[in-house]
Amino acid sequence: MIRLRRFRRARGDLGQVAGIEALPFGVLIFVVGALLITNLWAVVDTKGAVDTAAREAVRTYVEAPDESVGRLRADAAAREVIAGYGRRPGRLALTVEHEGDRPFGRCVRVTITTQYPVPALRLPWIGGLGHLFDVHGHHTERVDPFRAGLSGSGVC
C-alpha cells in the first residue's frame, strides 16, 4: 500500500539557517565601504586636478604679456586641465593674487588658487550627487625678473 504524502506549506522558521541576517547586512556593509572608498578617491582625484590646474594657470599667467591677457589665458589653461581630468570646467573657480598687491610686473610673486566642488555621493557611471565641500589647490611662482616685454626693475 502506497501512502501519498500531502504537500504541506512551510510555516514558522524551521529550516532557516542561523545567522541569515548576516547576509544582507554584510552586503550592505561592503556596499557602503565601496562607496566610501569611491568617494575618497573622488576627493583625491579632484585634489590632483585642482593642483595641476593651479600650476598650469600660474605658468601661463607669468608668461603673459600683461595682466588682463594673463588672467584670460590662465583661466583657459586651468579649465582645459579640469576638462582633461573629465570634470566640468564651468564649476572651477579661480583667484589670482599678487604678493603685496603689486601690479603685474617682473619679480612679482603670483599665487593662483583653484576651487572645485566635490559631490556628496559619487557613483561609478552615474556621476556625482549633491555637494559635500570644495577642494582647493594653489600654486605660486615668480614672474621672470629678466623677461622681455615688461617694464620695471629686475631685482627681486
Binding site: G19, V44, G48, D51, R55, H138, H139, R142, D144
Partner: protein, 131 residues
Amino acid sequence: MLMPAAVLVVLLLGAISVDLAIVHLRQHQAVAAAASAANDAVTAGLDQAALRRGDGYRLDPTRVDQAVTESIEAQGIAADLTEAPTVIMVTPDTVTVELHLRADYLFARSLPHGPRSTIVQGTATATVEQR
C-alpha cells in the same frame, strides 16, 4: 560572528586607504613645491655681474638658495620640511631641488606603537631656456 569581522575589515581597509591617500597627496605637493622652487631659482638666481662681464648665463649659488627659501615660505610648507631643502646646481644653468616633507597619518597613529607620520620626497629640476 562574521558581522563584526566584516565591519572591522571594511573599517580597516577604509582607514588604510585614507592614510595612503594623505601620503599620495603630500607626495604630489612635495613634487609641485620642488618644481616651483626650482623654476624660481633658475630665473631669480641669475648672476647678473657674470652676465654683464660676458661670462654668459650662470647662476649665483647664494641667490639660488634665497630664491628656493622664499618660494618654500610663500607656499606655506616651511614648517613641514623635515630637513633643509637640498639645492644642487647640476650645471651653471640647471638647478635641482629636493624636498622632504612630513606626512601625518590620520588613523595609523591611533594604533598602539603605530607610526605617526612618514616622510615623502619631491624632486624637480629646472633649466634656463634663453629666448
